[in-house]
């Protein structure tokens, strides 16, 4: 059985300069208490990896506002003018990755694959000097796996062993990221006893989870 720890202790091991993945899509499925605690602990120079940077003042948008971030790997910053402004001012570096490629590259890191072969981005700015591979007459872009030091996961339910389930559109990148980071920190919406989650409904086995964050008191 795992112990749930306080949010301060869960975030404390994240060092300045760490790479951190965040589940979520426009803030939905993002571990919001973990984000707030990163801001409170004033982490610096983070590389953050996530679908988007939400909006100013919202979800991981707060990390941009609070100057926690040096680099962003993401598919979309169109809803966050602060990200765009800081990018243009050279204060943060933004690597834009097609959304499907981002998902596959994170999965590839977690699944031990050497990379992803995809036609997406070929002949566009997303190609950006990346290698290509011709296979049976078709050309593919070779995209690198995307791993991170930490994955910050929002789950619907966690049992005491750390088995996780997810719900509706709050699932998105969360289960993929739980495979792709050295340390996996989970903020579950609810805790349930072992045996409540049916084996077919668990998307992340507890042994992938390093830290469970206690519920908000």
């Amino acid at each position: 059985m795992k112990q749930a720890i306080e949010v301060e202790d869960a975030i404390a091991p994240i060092h300045d300069g760490a790479s951190v993945m965040f589940g979520g899509f426009m803030g939905v499925g993002t571990p919001l208490r973990l984000v707030d605690e990163i801001v409170r602990q004033q982490k610096r120079d983070l590389t953050i990896i996530g679908n988007d940077t939400a909006r100013p003042g919202q979800a991981i948008g707060k990390l941009i506002d609070a100057d926690c971030v040096r680099r962003v790997v993401t598919s979309h910053i169109g809803t966050n003018p602060v990200t765009q402004k800081k990018m243009i001012a050279g204060e943060i570096e933004v690597e834009l990755v097609p959304q499907g490629t981002l998902a596959e590259c994170i999965r590839a890191a977690g699944y031990g694959l050497g990379g992803v072969l995809t036609p997406t981005g070929l002949g566009t700015l997303a190609e950006d000097g990346k290698p290509t591979l011709e296979l049976d007459g078709r050309i593919f872009l070779v995209e690198r796996p995307i791993a991170a030091d930490f994955a910050l996961i929002f789950a619907h339910r966690a049992d005491y062993n750390g088995n996780l389930d997810f719900t509706l559109t709050a699932r998105n990148f969360n289960p993929l990221m739980a495979m792709a980071a050295t340390t996996v920190i989970v903020e579950p919406q609810f805790f349930v006893p072992v045996g409540v989650l049916p084996p077919d409904g668990v998307a992340v086995p507890g042994l992938l989870v390093d830290t469970l964050v206690a519920r908000d008191h």
Binding site: G78, P98, T101, T124
Partner: protein
Amino acid sequence: MDATELIVKRVAQELRDGMLVNLGIGMPTQVANHVPPGMTVYFQSENGLIGMGARPPEGMEDPNLTDAGGAFITALPGAVAFDSAFSFGLIRGGHLDMTVLGGLQVDGHGHLANWMIPGKMVPGMGGAMDLVSGAKRVVVAMAHTNRGQPKIVRECALPLTSTRPVSLIVTELAVIEPTADGLVLKERAPGVSVEEVRAATAAELLAPADVPEMLAA
């Protein structure tokens, strides 16, 4: 009928029973309001859902169920939720029958540019590169011109979304199909002449002797 309504209704005629369809943000979203009666079309929300429904009743919103823009939605009976890798597997694996996207420019090769204006607007490609590279049919729904400047051009000046040509372009003036021979004018808006379409287009347009009027009932 205003321009948007004309475009959206004409695009809706491309829907077929049983199709899986992804609608881009903005004007394309409105296509969902014009599904022909008796027809079942499955709409995919790329953040992880097939079977999204309208806004939920006031006070009954689920924060874990939104569209790709973060707005609350409902799920229809028979809806399916999935993670981002699966969502883009549907798109990239050729399982998506049609996508409808906005455009900044489309050129004589059928190449679409819709994700950035260098030095001015860099929202990121989000899922656009995956959609244009992977969907069975790519329909561009856009205004024919922008402040009087043609958006259908000989060669895109803006960065491409994909080197794969789109399937159809629908504007308030015309329906145009990119082919191996070039852009073919298939239909003109009610009361609009072939010459007027040509005048508003900066790419060569092939036109048969008789170009029928768009039907947008």
